[in-house]
């Protein structure tokens, strides 16, 4: 009797396990959990150096356009504004790295139905910090996912903040 029961239940068990694995993979793919990072950028050393120069702000590289749109991941031109390419290592890097041939993936990609505006969240009267969503990125040494504290940004996380700061939680505030 026990063996029959086992034989009946085994396919269901296997199917459940398989579908779990497949769905996890699909979720990872859809939410870009393993994006391509061509090089290991050290946020900590850059931040500390820039802070010594008196410009230790995220906005120096991750800034806004004139119309308020977030620039996102900086292009190679932003690096070139400081690294003028005099040393041999820099020369080799700029020669081998282009913006176009190696796309820089992002963990923090919002789905299509979200109109997320960085400037509206950060330059408000109730100011949030970069770290409130991105975790302690300032002190991260690599671009691995383990450095991130906050994980993906689910809608509940946005709504909790909006609730706490008494900002409207209507759908139209973020969705389109």
């Amino acid at each position: 009797m026990k063996r029959t029961l086992l034989l009946i239940l085994l396919p269901f068990f296997v199917f459940a396990c398989l579908s779990y694995i497949v769905s996890i993979r699909i979720c990872d793919y859809a939410m870009a959990a393993q994006p391509e990072k061509p090089l290991h950028f050290n946020h900590k050393s850059h931040g500390e150096y820039l802070q010594r120069l008196g410009a230790g702000d995220c906005e120096l590289c991750h800034g806004y356009y004139d119309n308020g749109r977030f620039m996102g991941t900086p292009a190679i031109g932003t690096c070139k504004s400081c690294h003028n390419g005099t040393t041999a290592a820099e020369k080799a890097f700029f020669k081998g790295y282009n913006d176009t041939d190696r796309p820089w993936g992002s963990y923090a990609k919002q789905p299509d139905l979200v109109y997320f505006s960085h400037i509206a969240v950060l330059k408000n009267t109730k100011q949030a910090r970069c770290s409130s969503c991105h975790g302690d990125k300032k002190n991260s040494m690599t671009t691995k996912k383990t450095d991130r504290i906050m994980g993906k940004m689910p809608m509940g996380q946005c709504m909790d903040c909006h609730d706490a700061l008494r900002i409207s939680n209507k759908c139209l505030v973020c969705h389109d």
């Binding site: 356009y65 505006s117 330059k123 209507k170 505030v173 969705h175 389109d176």
Partner: protein, 271 residues
């Protein structure tokens, strides 16, 4: 806190029926444009340009027949009490895909819609459209899609949201310019900016300086609201009917000097 209540007035005396509003609306909201307009199930349009005539019963003589074009989009209903809005579509949605914003705009999140089409049945204006097919973009239309609006997939209900993504865009621009008061942000929807004769006017219904100040529009003898016959009733009768039933109370006003057109729009004769 948002004090603005967006509204629209359409001067039908100025409307030539050119259809620029319809085209610009589809382009702005990533809706595929078909050259064959009579294919109703395939047609997905937020803004319907309807042609009406005073001769639909026949028998009018030459010279008496008049025609007009009525641009009809989502009226952004607010229910009897605009302070606590209850549009007919929002009440029936089982998955909160549609909701009323603080500025009175009825939102519709296409990716959240399950396609039950209750809202389409509840809508008094047939302003909601169901996507029967996957959107098929002709030529290189797809390269010019608007990145602020999500592309509606097959099996979802779509509708006009007064181009609220343009409001968000303008808000970002205002914040970049140092303005943090969201009540001062103004914007123009795609149909309004495309209208060559200036027939469609958009603004704040609460602001006395705006071109669509609601109190002024309500006292305007040319103004009429679509299929909202209680506007023509006396004050006490209107109050009595509104106690019994929730009326849509739309935010789009039509202006016309023709009485037959006003009667057709308001549905007054048949009520």
């Amino acid at each position: 806190m948002m004090n603005v209540r967006w509204g629209m007035s359409i001067d039908l005396d100025k409307c030539t029926g050119c259809g620029a509003c319809q085209i610009s609306c589809m382009q702005e909201n990533n809706m595929p444009i078909f050259d064959e307009d009579s294919d109703i199930p395939k047609r997905v349009t937020f803004l319907d340009l309807m042609k009406v005539t005073n001769d639909f019963e026949g028998g009018k003589k030459y010279g008496e027949v008049q025609t007009a074009f009525i641009p009809k989009m989502c009226m952004q209903c607010s229910g009897n009490d605009p302070k606590n809005p209850h549009p007919p579509c929002v009440t029936v949605c089982p998955v909160v895909a549609t909701d009323v914003g603080d500025d009175g705009i009825v939102s519709q999140i296409w990716s959240r819609c399950i396609g039950c089409r209750y809202c389409q049945a509840a809508c008094p204006y047939e302003a909601r459209v169901f996507n029967w097919w996957k959107p098929r973009y002709e030529g290189d239309f797809k390269q010019g899609l608007n990145s602020d609006v999500s592309v509606a997939s097959r099996g979802t209900v779509v509708k006009c949201t007064f181009c609220s993504h343009i409001w968000k865009r303008e808000r970002d621009r205002a914040i970049a310019g140092g303005e943090t008061d969201i009540n001062k942000v103004t914007y123009t929807p795609a149909c309004v900016s495309a209208c060559p004769t200036g027939a469609i006017v958009f603004g704040d219904l609460n602001n006395p300086n705006s071109p669509v100040y609601e109190t002024r529009l309500k006292n305007d003898p040319r103004a009429v609201r679509m299929v909202h016959s209680i506007d023509q009733q006396p004050e006490n009768e209107r109050a009595r009917r509104m106690r019994i039933k929730d009326y849509p109370n739309p935010k789009v006003y039509y202006l016309s000097s023709q009485k037959w057109l006003r009667d057709i729009i308001s549905g007054f004769q048949n009520s």
